[in-house]
Amino acid sequence: MSALTDLSLAEMKAGLDARQFSAVELAQAHLDAMAANRHLNAFIVETPELALTQAKAVDDGTRSGPLAGIPLGIKDLFAVEGVQTTAGSNILKGFVPRYESSVTANLLRDGAVFLGKLNMDEFAMGSSNETSAFGRVISPWKAKGSDAELVPGGSSGGSAAAVSARLCAGATGTDTGGSIRQPAAFVGIAGIKPTYGRASRWGTIAFASSLDQAGPMARTVTDCALMLTSMCGFDAKDSTSLDIPVPDYAAGLTGGMKGKRVGIPAEYRLDGMDPEIAALWDQGIALLKAEGAEIVSVSLPHTKYALPTYYIVAPAEASSNLARYDGVRYGNRVTPAGGNVHDMYAATRAAGFGKEVKRRIMIGTYVLSAGFYDAYYTQAQKVRALIARDFEAAFEKCDVLLTPTAPSPAFAFGAKADPLAMYLNDVFTVPASLAGLPAMSVPAGLSASGLPLGLQIIGRPLDEMGVLDAGLAIERAAGFSTRP
């Protein structure tokens, strides 16, 4: 029944409603696909029994809702009660939460079926999925005429690979500086990070609290809209959750761009920009113009400072957020012979965290330490305020912004061994994260080597609808239909 896995999420929903197939059949088709694609290493844990039980309940009519029977993959950053949740880290290997994250609870409330926990960069720190303690995730894509394995992007690389390879209808992702958008672009799918505060962070393992947002990854903009409505919503358990009603995004989706002003930020046209990326961007501009949008040039003057700002703020928050992994209450403990409790901490954390996580914890510890706090952290938060101000000013002239998602197509493993080279992957995605804005990536074309390229749409606070509409317009106009 491989055809079932080819359907879009919306088509699966329609098929289930029309009883063309059962939820169990749909779940089984995906479980089979997962089994056949284990070499991608997209899943850390597969939960076939859970999935089939949930699907059966949908078929029985005891579970229902807007996503009834839809088979989803869950990034391993979300606590799923009774299922190992590790954030892709050794330090949490074997950790089984006795609670359900608010986002996954929302999806379960709406009838979704969980296929398993998706691989990711350790603690969501990475852009290639090479930092996972459970091994790298391999993109289902290959460059034309090459057999080299490619990265799926990151940190939601397992989610990207699984959705792209048709192992699930959609997946949850999280985005701190681009972790939904960049992998979505790398594998030719859509993904949206909502406004900061739309999706509850409760029960989602924290990387950088002021930046982390959950969002959906799926093969179409409509599918993203369906999942987004379910995942978002006010949660009293998260103090930063927005107490503002969430629209039915799928119902409101029109894709209409007539009269919309699309801003093109001049500063995103970097020196030495990959000509393919520049061409894709120009093509996107032309498409939206053809759809009736007005193209306006805008300026985001502090763009070049976004990445360095991010690499102060995010590690600082992470150094504190990850202090709880100390081997006392959960996780793997390492006690050196004759060591005291502080030696236990140091050994536990040295063994439990990977290189990139340690690096970021150390950077974060340094920038917060006595004598350096103002120069680094306070200055970064001031620049961050300026970056947010830039966007505010730009949105006086336009309704959405259009930019490339990533500076390059997917690359080969090991291609970005230097941390700074890796960090540059997020150059286009990080500014919206710093400002808390909704932003999405939609597949818009192929590189010369036949690899997917994405365009990013950034919206005003709370205007996920506007972002999705522009995304749908590009999706339709670009007609991206290539699959791995």
Partner: protein, 498 residues
């Protein structure tokens, strides 16, 4: 205010003055914790009052308890402090097994309460104003138990996440006595406000004691911080010992190092913490899981309106309006419960007697401070569990005021009230303890006494006036104390003089 005479530590090289600042941690009175819905009650099974948030499970988030905000603001108003309508929480990062998050949520940069003060009074009556720099809200840590296993420490997170107010004094304190008076005064104030129960043996209030020494006129010396001292007496001892130690150290050629120390109640001394870690660098930064804490003037006004009359004001009023002695005013205003009890009894007595409170205040105050306190002390009870209610006391005092009960009878009836819990009137009724003013019965008793003591009658009549007291005593005894003393006096005079 008059300056207290300087407390001096005598050293080999001369006199040293001491400088003390206190950081008092007071647990906020609230049912639930500062950032979680777990209970704050004392004495539960280990880890039974712990939420997933308190245990810092991955992905858990804090949500603030509004009552703790309210209590902090009320406390700030009670020390005349500036209330900050915009404040924020910061993370204080350090590793310790009783700190699950790896950071304490506290307020460094923008505390909820700014500058205020507390006026203290020493035993010799000298008064002094101690500056309070700030009050901030923060989470308490859990508890490590070190003596249950030879090589392991056990961690209980029940207290972890309870709201604390950290009340930071200025270094205005100059003697152990001032330190003691400050903490006692603060405890009294917090209990009045109702923002902390002040149970120091349960750890609801404890102080970090910062001490340095200097020669008069010199700048501040290097200070040490003695952590978590949990009684007024211990705080005074910690100050005294630490000052002495520093003077001895400096005079023997050493230098005081800025360090954290522990107080040992057994020896009344302080010692450096053994498990001392590298110099602390707490890497404070605003907690990104929380938004700024903001409220308006209406909220502050509401907090102000909910404050009771505070101890200093109450004490002054007892002296000036009710005419109580400074001693009685201090004793009756020491605890809010006592003051409330006194004021309820006072109002009830005044109503029953039909006189203004100013008329009966001294009688009520005296009875409470001597008879009631004495009885409670014997019974080992607090005023809150007094077997005699303020109303019942008022009834008793009214029976005394209207002449039904004589002084000795009042005491007798009060004893019976304590024993039986019954009201004064019904005891008087049942036991026939009513004062007798009937001249017939009194005359008869006088006659009996006179008949039994003819020689004394003769002596009296021949001018030995002093014997009058003897006859009064005999008559009262004959009438089992029930005779109205005034009538006895009048009748005795009349009959003896015949």
């Amino acid at each position: 205010m008059s300056e207290a005479p300087n407390y001096i530590v005598k050293g080999a090289t001369g006199d040293w003055e001491i400088v003390v600042g206190l950081e008092v941690h007071a647990q906020v009175t609230a049912k639930a914790k500062l950032f979680s819905g777990a209970s704050t009650e004392f004495g539960a099974e280990p880890n039974a009052q712990v939420s997933l948030v308190d245990a810092a499970m991955p992905g858990m988030l804090p949500v603030i308890n509004g009552e703790c905000v309210r209590q902090a603001v009320r406390t700030g108003l009670a020390i005349d402090a500036q209330i900050n309508k915009w404040s924020r929480f910061d993370r204080k990062n350090y590793f310790y097994p009783d700190l699950p998050q790896g950071y304490q949520i506290s307020q460094l940069y923008h505390p909820i309460v700014g500058e205020g003060h507390l006026d203290i009074e020493l035993d010799d009556g000298t008064k002094k104003r101690i500056g309070i720099e700030r009050i901030h809200l923060e989470q308490d840590a859990g508890k490590s138990v070190h003596d249950l296993h030879p090589s392991m420490s056990y961690v209980d997170l029940n207290r972890c996440g309870c709201a604390l107010m950290e009340i930071v004094s200025r270094p205005d304190i100059r003697s152990p006595a001032e330190a003691g008076a400050y903490v006692a005064g603060l405890r009294q104030l917090l209990r009045y406000v109702g923002s902390c129960d002040g149970n120091m043996d349960e750890g609801s209030m404890r102080a970090d004691v910062n001490v340095s020494v200097r020669k008069a006129g010199q700048p501040f010396g290097t200070r040490t911080e003695t952590k978590n001292v949990n009684s007024v007496r211990f705080i005074m001892q910690a100050v005294e010992h630490e000052a002495r130690r520093q003077v001895d150290l400096i005079e023997s050629g050493g230098t005081v190092i800025q360090e954290t120390r522990l107080f040992d109640p057994g020896s009344s001394t302080t010692r450096a913490m053994r498990g001392k870690e590298d110099a602390h660098d707490y890497r404070y930064f605003p907690d990104p899981d929380l938004l700024p804490l903001v409220f308006d003037d209406a909220f502050i006004a509401q907090c102000r309106g909910s404050l009771p009359e505070l101890p200093a004001a109450k004490r002054a009023r007892y002296e000036s309006t009710l005419g109580l002695s400074p001693y009685l005013a201090a004793v009756l205003s020491a605890e809010k419960e006592t003051a409330d009890w006194f004021e309820t009894a006072l109002a009830a007595t005044a109503a029953k007697v039909g006189q203004p409170v100013t008329e009966v205040a001294l009688r009520v105050a005296n009875f409470i401070s001597s008879d009631l306190f004495g009885a409670l002390k014997k019974l080992g009870k607090e005023i809150g569990d007094s077997p005699v209610s303020p109303d019942a006391l008022a009834e008793l005092l009214a029976l005394a005021a209207d002449g039904t009960l004589s002084g000795p009878l009042v005491k007798q009836v009060f004893e019976a009230m304590l024993e039986t819990g019954e009201g004064a009137a019904s005891i008087v009724e049942q036991r026939g303890l009513k004062q007798v003013s009937d001249t017939g019965a009194i005359d008869a008793a006088i006659q009996t006494v006179m008949d039994a003591n003819p020689n004394k009658v003769a002596e009296y009549r021949s001018g030995k006036d002093k014997l009058f007291g003897f006859f009064v005593g005999q008559v009262m005894r004959a009438m089992a104390g029930k005779a109205a003393p005034g009538v006895v006096n009048d009748r005795l005079k009349a009959l003896l003089e015949v």
